[in-house]
């Protein structure tokens, strides 16, 4: 499985605010969770065309790095 297992956290390490959010989300019915999951936030350049198609994920990522503002976070670190 992924290499994330090297960075384990315990419940005590989770910020209280996040924990409260997780608990609140768990109490919501699935329908509400779906509704909250798809709130659209406008992203400049990315959302300026109805769609774009790429042959590979690598092509898509290259396009993101070359065309999107850095602060959107689509570039590789």
């Amino acid at each position: 499985m992924g290499s994330d297992t090297s960075q384990k956290t315990g419940l005590a390490d989770i910020p209280a605010e996040w924990l409260a959010e997780f608990e609140a989300a768990a109490r919501r019915p699935l329908r509400a969770r779906f509704r909250y999951a798809f709130i659209h936030t406008y992203k400049p350049v990315l959302d300026d065309e109805p769609f774009r198609a790429f042959d590979t994920t690598a092509d898509y990522r290259r396009w993101c790095e070359e065309n999107l503002p850095d602060w959107l976070g689509y570039g590789r670190v």
Binding site: T5, L11, V77
Partner: protein, 357 residues
């Protein structure tokens, strides 16, 4: 299978079911975001890892342990089966057998749905071959193909072939079949297969054969509380009290081998040991019938000669009509009546009348 496809298969196997929806396992989401190397994905990782920890606390670590063991098994042996793709969540799931309809692509394990894909070409053919062989056993009660057995409301399992008493009724069968056969081809979910075997044994199955269609053909012979053993082509499988005859390993997947076994079984059902037994009985019956026919023909011929001799002795000329009637009559009783008539007849017409009476 390529590395990418293999990873995808692993991820599918590891999915989590949330109120009936299939969702990526959190570990896979984390791994994917980590691999992307993008700022926005890396920024989300701390929160995602925290959520993973929270989720594991809620749902138990067993899930992850289980997922890892499933992966190890899949990595070691990439087998496949006609059925079953999923991984169990710990604890009881919300589903019950009476919520699953015939034709729904699911089995149930501890209340969790196990999605079942259509059978592949090789698996489907082999299962049909095995069905024919098992169905022909003289001691057989019934064979079912993918019959759903529900020993308890939260379990519904459908072996590829099930042997035992299967009532001719709609709906799921109760309990578990005494003998179950599973066909495993590429893509087999080994973890689920192990769970399925355990559940069937717990419900009363006494013999479970897993026919492996990848690599060298072989059959895994499972029995409760016994070590699994491998049976190879040339060996025989036995299910005492369920099947009268041993089943050669290859007859469970090879149609030619299956036909030989089916032929033997059908002969036995009719009371014959072998084809030679049938031939010997046919020859004996033929001889007996030949003798009877020969005796009757000899008797008729003797009576015809006697009638002709009486006619000559008494000066009665046998005309063409009488000769033709005599030649065509094979019934000794009629010829005997004609012989009595010849003894007193004043003309050939009286003998002819006796022949036509």
């Amino acid at each position: 299978m390529g590395a990418f496809e293999y990873r995808q298969a692993e991820e599918r196997r590891r999915h989590v079911e949330v109120e009936g929806f299939f969702v990526c396992h959190p570990d896979d989401i984390i791994a994917s975001k980590q691999a992307s190397g993008r700022a926005k994905d890396l920024e989300s990782l701390p929160r995602l890892r925290s959520f993973r920890e929270y989720w594991l606390q809620k749902h138990g670590r067993q899930h992850t342990v289980h997922a890892h063991s499933a992966l190890s098994a899949a990595g070691a042996q990439c087998y496949a089966s006609p059925m079953a793709k999923s991984l169990r969540q710990p604890g009881s799931g919300p589903f019950r057998a009476d919520q699953i309809r015939s034709g729904d692509p699911y089995e149930l394990s501890n209340g969790h749905r196990i999605s079942c894909l259509p059978t592949g070409r090789r698996g489907g053919k082999a299962a049909s071959v095995g069905d024919g062989v098992l169905s022909s056993d003289p001691a057989l009660q019934d064979v079912g193909v993918e019959v759903g057995f529900s020993p308890s409301p939260e379990i519904l399992r459908a072996p590829d072939l099930s042997v035992g008493e299967i009532p001719d009724l709609p709906g799921w069968a109760h309990g578990a079949p005494p003998l179950a056969v599973e066909y495993a081809d590429t893509g087999q979910d080994e973890a689920d297969l192990r769970i399925k075997i355990r559940e069937l044994f717990a419900a009363g199955t006494r013999h479970l054969w897993v026919v492996r269609l990848t690599g060298p053909r072989r059959v895994e012979v499972h029995q409760p509380d016994r070590e699994m053993r491998l049976a190879h082509p040339g060996e025989q499988l036995e299910a005492p009290g369920i099947l009268a005859n041993p089943v050669p390993v290859e007859a469970l997947y090879d149609r030619k081998a299956a036909r030989r076994v089916i032929f033997r079984n059908l002969l036995q059902s009719e009371g014959y040991v072998s084809l030679d037994d049938v031939r010997a009985e046919g020859e004996a019956r033929g001889r007996e019938e030949g003798e009877i026919r020969g005796r009757a023909e000899g008797e008729a011929q003797g009576l015809r000669r006697a009638i002709a001799a009486v006619c000559v002795g008494r000066g009665l000329a046998a005309d063409d009509g009488l000769q033709a009637a005599l030649a065509s009559c094979n019934d000794p009783a009629v010829l005997e009546a004609a012989l009595r008539a010849a003894a007193t007849a004043t003309s050939p017409a009286e003998i002819l009348a006796a022949l036509r009476a």
